[in-house]
Amino acid sequence: MTELTIIDAIRTALGRALHDDPDVILFGEDIGIDGGVFRATDGLVQRFGAARVRDTPLSETVIAGMAVGAAAHGLKPVAEIQFMGFIYSTIDQLANHAARLRNRTRGRLTCPMVLRAPFGSGIKAPEHHSESMEAMLAHIPGLRVVVPSSPTRAYGLLLAAIRDPDPVVFLEPKRLYRSMSEPVQDDGVALPLDRAVILREGGDVTLVSWGAMLSETRAAAESLAGEGIDAEVIDLSSLKPIDRDTIRASVGRTGRCVIVHEAPLTAGLGAEIAADLAEHCLTSLVAPVRRVTGFDTVMPYPKLEDHYMPSVERVRRAALDVMEFS
């Protein structure tokens, strides 16, 4: 087994999908000879040809809309949006068409497409290159939104997304692209899409996060362990649909929950999880549900980026707060 980073794992999964299924087609800006600005598609045009790995004109709306049409007519398009800050122009096609085609036609036409986009902050990128607006997409009925957190999960979840019969937005935590590696077997085995994953078991407090913020969350959990607090860490993984049972069960055990995400607070996806607990786990909760998020502001330019991002310390403090609550 080869040691792969997340970006390697994504590339490997894309290659596997192209190899296994002639209907898989990749398109996006600069994904061909350039291999994508993060190299997610590096070498694929050489292996599979320019007809299956296509550079599009600079047009996000038509990237999404073309994926809808191609998916409905028998291809399995895996399209890339270069950065999440440029995904807004695709929302019309995602919400009004991709997510509806099956329902609108009562199953006659379907939309097995994947829209990939790197998201999140932490690499000191220019404006619009660091957004985390996943909550907007998770609000769209009929869509799936998936976020991997490790090379293994990136590989397995991307294969699952491509094979899924419905549209999936696959958001890649770009801060993690090259920050970790692990052995990943290119065995073509997909992971289940709709499952949250317990990354660390613990009985005192449940920490829920996804994507890159799991680094801070896990670091906070380790630090808390040093203070005798045993945190459970859950990787939400599927942002839509949400695996509510796993979270409820965990909070049922711990009675405490802190949710961590980069996106702004108000109407962020953390709200959905906290709301779910307020409805379904109220009697288990022994402390307020805390959300540690990017501040409720516009994502700042790089110089203030670190201030915006939830730090290990902010997560740790929130966990301590809920532990001390009485």
């Binding site: 087609i25 007809a51 299956r52 296509r54 599009t56 004109p57 047009s59 709306t61 038509v62 999404a64 809309g65 073309m66 994926a67 809808v68 049409g69 191609a70 998916a71 409905a72 007519h73 028998g74 291809l75 398009p77 019309d92 096609q93 009004n96 068409h97 099956r102 329902n103 609108r104 036609t105 009562r106 199953g107 006659r108 036409l109 379907t110 009925p141 009929g142 799936r144 899924d164 019969p165 419905d166 709709d194 649909p241 949400i242 695996d243 509510r244 049972d245």
Partner: protein, 346 residues
């Protein structure tokens, strides 16, 4: 700027030599019948809406030649991507009147037509069907299907970015797509002249390096001929085409609209002289022995078909509430199952 392609003038006289298909009585009668049927369907739909038995409806009165002409040039394996005013084309392709009534009555099952199963349903967000057509054409190109994707949109649709982006990728990738603009001179209350300063809408093709052509959209022969040629280019691997069909919206925008607020009857009435049925009927009478009995028979059978379809539609049991959930995903996710139960007994 050349004149729009036209074979039959407003009176049904031949403006130029007819293409082969248009010398065949059977073909012409089929085209005429399809337009008459469409007009009957329109009239019934409006009547149903006025009596509270159908939702908001967009009539195609006066524009029947466009979608009928377009659809009649297509083969089964081509894919049709209509906007919301192409009932005639949908019917020609094999969608049933009952299905169309269901759709306009507010029932998703109307889009689950038994008919051309690869065709797209009505598309409401203006111009958003053009990117789909590019995608369908991409799939056709990729799979070597030797077919074309044919999308129709209005004059207003040509102002939208998605129309343009789709046109551009069709040009850049040589995709087998035909974009038809049904220029009925109005986008709700906005006249064509205020929609864009472009000389013609066909000219917009230049921005994508595609051939663009203007056609008399009230001449079903011209529409069919232009679409047929464009589809031949698709099949020959020569890429896409933009066709602007010139017509006029004789009715309100939809049943929710009152066109008298923004346009004078004096503007509308001359266009009644130009509408597509008269000229083809005149031509049939003059050149193909179309008689009073033929006409009456056609009107009767169209009327009967529409009435029967309407009856079936009105007798259709509503979908159960939980249908909302059943088609959202291939399999219902766990977190929705509970809600679906709740809906079930609501």
């Amino acid at each position: 700027m050349s004149e729009p392609l036209r074979f039959l003038d407003a009176e049904g006289g031949c403006a130029r030599e007819l293409p082969d298909f248009a010398r065949d009585r059977e073909t012409l009668v089929a085209l005429y019948a399809a337009m008459v049927r469409t007009r009957s369907f329109d009239a019934k739909a409006i009547a149903l809406q006025r009596t509270g038995r159908l939702g908001t409806y967009a009539s195609s009165l006066g524009q029947e030649a466009i979608s009928v002409g377009v659809a009649s040039a297509m083969q089964d394996r081509d894919v049709f991507l209509p906007s919301f005013r192409e009932h005639g084309g949908q019917l020609w392709r094999g969608v049933s009147m009952e299905e169309l009534f269901l759709y306009w009555g507010g029932d998703e099952r109307g889009n689950d037509f038994a008919g051309p199963t690869q065709d797209f349903p009505v598309c409401i967000p203006v111009a958003s069907q053009f990117p789909h057509a590019a995608g369908v054409a991409l799939a056709m190109q990729q799979k070597g299907e030797n077919a074309g994707a044919v999308a129709i949109g209005g004059d207003g649709a040509t102002s939208k970015g998605d129309f343009y982006e789709a046109l551009n990728v069709v040009g850049a990738w040589g995709l087998p797509a035909v974009f038809v603009i049904s220029n009925n001179a109005w986008a709700i209350s906005v006249p064509r002249s205020e929609q864009t300063h472009a000389k013609t809408l066909a000219d917009k093709a230049i921005a994508a390096g595609l051939p663009g052509e203007q056609v008399d959209g009230n001449d079903v022969i011209a529409v069919r001929e232009a679409t047929g040629r464009a589809l031949e280019r698709c099949r020959a691997g020569d890429g896409g085409t933009l066709i602007e069909c010139l017509s006029y919206r004789l009715g309100d925008h939809t049943t929710a609209d009152d066109a008298s607020r923004y346009r004078d009857e004096t503007e509308v009435s001359p266009h009644w002289q130009e509408e597509p049925l008269i000229r083809l009927r005149n031509h049939l009478v003059a050149a193909h022995d179309w008689g009073k009995a033929d006409e009456e028979g056609l009107l009767r059978s169209s009327g009967e078909a529409v009435e029967a379809a309407a009856e079936n539609y009105l007798a259709t049991e509503p979908d159960p509430a939980r249908a909302m959930f059943d088609h959202l995903y291939a399999a219902i996710p766990e977190d929705l199952a509970a809600l679906a139960e709740e809906a079930g007994d609501d």
